[in-house]
C-alpha cells in the first residue's frame, strides 16, 4: 500500500547516471568534475521523484546524523527553563538539525541511560542542561562528540553557557541608583551558604558578588538582609511582613521574582503601593513578573538566548565558556525619575 521509499538509485536511474554521480551532486561536493548537465539532470530527477535521503543509511556511512541531544535534569520544574529548550530548538532547526530531548531527573542511572541512548543514535553533539545553574553530574562514560554545558558547568567539559550573573548583580544596583534610590534598600533572599558558593549554585554566588561590588562602588549599604533558604512566594511574603513591622524600606531587592511576588502580597496587605511607597526590583523575568500590578522590573535570565548559543557553540567551534548578558526588563515597579 505504502509506496516504497525513493532511493538514490532510483534518482540515478532516472537521471541516467550512476549513484556515485547522484550522491556527489546531491550532497554538493565541491571538488567534483561532473558536468553542468549532469547536475541539472540529477536535481531534476530528485525533485520529480521527491527524493529524500535515508538518514539512517547516511549516518551509518558517515557517523553524522544531523541530530543533537539535549539532556537535562528537569524540563520544566522552574517553568521558564523551557526557554532553554526553545532557544536550542530554534537554533537546531536553523542548522537543519533535529533535537533529541532527554530528561534525567538528576538521577545518575538515568543520566547514564540518556547518554547511551543519545550516543547509540550517533548524535553529533551533546548539551547537558541544568535547570538551576550548578556543577552538573556527567556520567563517566566515553563521550566522543562535542559537548557543551548549558546553565551549568563541568570540570570535564569546559565549554559552557551561563548567564552573566555578576554583571546582572551590578546592574540591579545601578538601576536602583538611576531611580534615585540610594538607601533604605532591603535585600530579600540573602543566604550565607549560597553566597559563599557552598550550595546550590556558583552562578547565584556571582549574582551576590555583583550586587556587593556595585553597592560598595556606590558606597551603599543594605537597610536589612532577609535570609531564607527557599525562594518561593510564601517566604517572600513572610519575610516582607516581618520587616514591615519594624521598618519602612524605600525599596526591596528580591533575589528572584517569586520572592518579589510574595513581597507584593505583603505590601498590598500593608496598604503600601508599588512603586510610590516601596519600590521592588528582582531577578529572573519569570512569566509572573508581567502579571503583577504594577509589572515587576526585573533582571532577566536570558534562557532562550542561552539555549540558542549552546547549539551554535556545539555546531560551530568553541572552547571557551560564554557569559550571556542579563537584560533589565523595565516594567513599573521602580519610580520614574
Amino acid at each position: 500500500m505504502t509506496k516504497k521509499r525513493v532511493t538514490l538509485a532510483d534518482v540515478a536511474r532516472l537521471a541516467g547516471l550512476s549513484t556515485t554521480a547522484a550522491s556527489m551532486i546531491l550532497t554538493g561536493r565541491p571538488d567534483t568534475r561532473l558536468s553542468v548537465e549532469a547536475h541539472a539532470k540529477v536535481h531534476a530527477a530528485a525533485a520529480s521523484l521527491g527524493y529524500r535521503p535515508n538518514v539512517a543509511a547516511r549516518a551509518l556511512r558517515t557517523d553524522k546524523s544531523r541530530s543533537i541531544a539535549f539532556i537535562s535534569d528537569y524540563v520544566a520544574t522552574t517553568r521558564f527553563a523551557s526557554g532553554l529548550i526553545r532557544g536550542a530548538l530554534a537554533a537546531a532547526e536553523e542548522a537543519k538539525h533535529v533535537m533529541l530531548v532527554l530528561e534525567t531527573g538528576g538521577e545518575p542511572a538515568r543520566e547514564i541511560q540518556a547518554v547511551e541512548a543519545a550516543l547509540d543514535r550517533q548524535v553529533d553533539g551533546l548539551i547537558f542542561a541544568a535547570m538551576r545553574a550548578r556543577e552538573v553530574f556527567v556520567p563517566d562514560l566515553p563521550i566522543n562528540v562535542p559537548t557543551v554545558m548549558l546553565n551549568g558547568t563541568s570540570a570535564r567539559f569546559p565549554v559552557s553557557v551561563l548567564p552573566d550573573e555578576y554583571r546582572g548583580g551590578q546592574r540591579v544596583v545601578e538601576r536602583l541608583l538611576e531611580a534615585g534610590i540610594s538607601d533604605g534598600v532591603v535585600l530579600l533572599g540573602h543566604n550565607a551558604e549560597v553566597e559563599a558558593g557552598l550550595f546550590r549554585s556558583e552562578t547565584i554566588a556571582r549574582r551576590f558578588a555583583g550586587i556587593r561590588a556595585a553597592m560598595k562602588a556606590a558606597d551603599m549599604a543594605f537597610l536589612a538582609e532577609l535570609s531564607c533558604w527557599n525562594w518561593e512566594p510564601g517566604h517572600g511574603y513572610e519575610l516582607t511582613r516581618k520587616v514591615l513591622k519594624s521598618t519602612r524600606p524605600r525599596a526591596i531587592l528580591c533575589l528572584n521574582d517569586r520572592l518579589a511576588f510574595g513581597a507584593y502580597q505583603a505590601l498590598a496587605e500593608a496598604r503600601l503601593s508599588v512603586p510610590e511607597d516601596v519600590a521592588v526590583v528582582s531577578f529572573d523575568n519569570d512569566e509572573l513578573a508581567s502579571y503583577l500590578r504594577p509589572g515587576l522590573t526585573t533582571i532577566g535570565l536570558p534562557h532562550e538566548e542561552m539555549g540558542r548559543r549552546a547549539v551554535e557553540l556545539l555546531l560551530g567551534e568553541a572552547s571557551a565558556p560564554q557569559l550571556i548578558e542579563m537584560p533589565v526588563i523595565e516594567r513599573g515597579s521602580l519610580p520614574r525619575v
Copy 2:
C-alpha cells in the same frame, strides 16, 4: 585516538559464533534453536566488550529507530504545557524510546519541514501536540507511521488525547455546590464565540457545555457573565473591578487561573477576602494557582498524564480518542463546609 566502535562481528568473533547467532541471541528472538551455551557465550562477549548496537544500521535494516517525534506548535507559550512534553518523555523513556522535539510555531512551512525531518529519521511514530486544544493543521504529506494528536484533533488522524473538559465543567459546578454555594456566582471569561465553538477551541466549548449542564441540573443561574476575549490577568482584574461596583458576588468562577489571578488582585483592592467574602474557583492548575494567597482551588489540566498517554497510544495499539480526567485541585479559595 577514539577506539573504534565494537560491532556485532566483534562480539561474534569473541564468542566463537557467527554474527547471525549473535544477532539472534542479542535481539532475543524467541523461535531460535541456539543452545544455552551459545546464549551464554554471546551475552558474555557482548558484556565484556561493552557492545552497543549501531542504531543506524539497525534502522536501515528494520525501518524502526526506537524514536518518536513530538511536533508541537509552541513548546511553552502557555507555561505548563511543558507538562505535555514531560509526560511524553517519561513514557518514551520507559518504552526505551527517544523523543525528537520539533517546534513549528504553527507555521505550515515549518510544519512540513518538521514532519519531513522526523520521517527522514525513520521515527516510529508522530505526536502532534497543540498548546491550546484545537483542530490542528497537519501537513498534507504521506505519513506512514502511527500518529496521535495530543491536546488537539485532526480529521485525518482520529487517535487523540484530550482533557475531559465536559466532565471538568460539571465538576466545578458540583464543587461549588459542595461548598454550599448555589447562587451569587459570577462567570468570568465567558465568550459567546468560544462557547459556540467557532473560535479557539472546541474543548473549551465542551468546558462551557459541562458548566451549563451542571448549572441546569442544579437549577442554578449565574449572577452575571463577564465576557472577554483574552484570558490574561489584566482582563480578570478589570472585569472583577467592574462587577464589584454594582454587585457583591458570593463566588467567582473563572475560566482559567490567570483570570483568577486578576480577580484576586481586584478583590484585594476592594478589601474582600477569599474565601470568606468571595470564593474563587478556576481551571488549569497553572503554577500560579499555588502562589496565590490563599491557594487557588482549580480544575487541573492533566497535561503530564496526557503526554504519557499519547506515547502509550502511539506505541501500543489504539484507534479511539481518549478523554483524560481533569482532577480538582483543592487549595483554599473555597469555603470549607
